[in-house]
Amino acid sequence: MHEFSITQNILAISLEKAAEAQASSIIKIRIGIGELSGIVDDCVKQYFDFLSQDTIASQATLSFEHIPVKLQCRHCQTVFSPDRDNWACPNCQQLNSEITGGRDCYVESIEMEVA
């Protein structure tokens, strides 16, 4: 159900931006999904088809870019993307890192038709 509220927000942001640009329809929405955000894109697509009915986004396609988890080692400052379960620093092997990327979900860009 998590994706439902996420999708509502994606649609709301897109419709607002399209209205500002006086678009007649939205063609494509590019969405960035951090690996740690736990958002399933198929699920977003399904909700989007339902929620966008009767809006200028009803024909829009969604494209997703998956943003890998990025960590920075607090010990030696190395920035790295961990393997699935192994969060140890590849340089100094310490398990002591801060999450610096891969958490967010954002609307990256919107392609639209304007008169």
């Binding site: 927000n9 994606i10 955000s37 002591n96 038709e113 304007v114």
Partner: protein
């Protein structure tokens, strides 16, 4: 007809985060320490709240916002202790959001509260992503769930201010590797406080209560 592409780069949860800030400002006006409690179903969220109420209700005024997919069982349990409780039913939703909390706060008399617990929906994934306006995030891991959980749900463990290890009385019966667990948390979230407790026997609760007392003092200092 022309085609136009606009850069947006807008956080999908931005509206929630804004509302959470408003909630927190409202809580600070009344000096209410607010704690968001997150855990799997059955880890002991309600039990921890009940233990805390039992031990602190003579000292301070407590209120509880209960989030559940359905039913009002937990709110009734809390109410039976003479503590104001508001039940939020998410109707299938996997987490609470800032808007639900704003509405629930309308039903409480905020001027009479020192400590507010928000019991989130039982889930180790989604609740970590939604800021509610709380001051502190407390997550409970019950020992039978296993010491590998920080590997599977790193976000939850890396965002918690406090990790309660509940059902600690069961430790002799389990293969829970405490040194390995502490090592992983020291790496993921070195600032997190870890309190091993048993909500059933009361073991370890005093350290948790002292932490709350200290945080309430800080909340009072935030009063305008």
């Amino acid at each position: 007809m022309a085609i136009k592409v606009i850069k947006v780069l807008e956080d999908v949860l931005g509206a929630n985060t804004e509302l959470a800030k408003k909630n927190q400002a409202r809580l600070d006006e009344h000096g209410i320490l607010t704690i968001n409690i997150m855990a799997s179903p059955g880890a002991g969220k309600t039990s921890l709240i009940m233990q805390t109420i039992k031990n602190l209700k003579a000292e301070i005024n407590i209120a509880v916002i209960e989030g559940d997919v359905a039913s009002s069982l937990d709110a009734e349990t809390v109410n039976a202790q003479g503590i104001p409780a508001v039940q939020i039913n998410t109707a299938g939703g996997c987490h609470l959001d800032a808007n639900m909390i704003a509405k629930a706060m309308d039903e409480l008399s905020l001027e009479n509260i020192d400590l507010m617990f928000i019991e989130n929906v039982g889930n180790l994934i989604c609740p970590a992503e939604f800021d509610l306006g709380e001051h502190k995030r407390v997550m409970i891991l019950s020992l039978p769930e296993g010491d590998d959980k920080p590997h599977k749900y790193p976000l939850m463990f890396s965002e918690a201010d406090v990790i309660i290890l509940n059902k600690h009385d069961l430790l002799p019966l389990l293969d829970f590797d405490m040194p390995a667990f502490r090592k992983v948390i020291a790496g993921l979230n070195p600032k997190a406080k870890i309190f091993p407790v048993s909500c059933k026997t009361g073991e370890g609760i005093e350290a948790w209560l002292d932490w709350i007392r200290g945080e309430i003092k800080k909340a009072n200092q935030r009063l305008p």
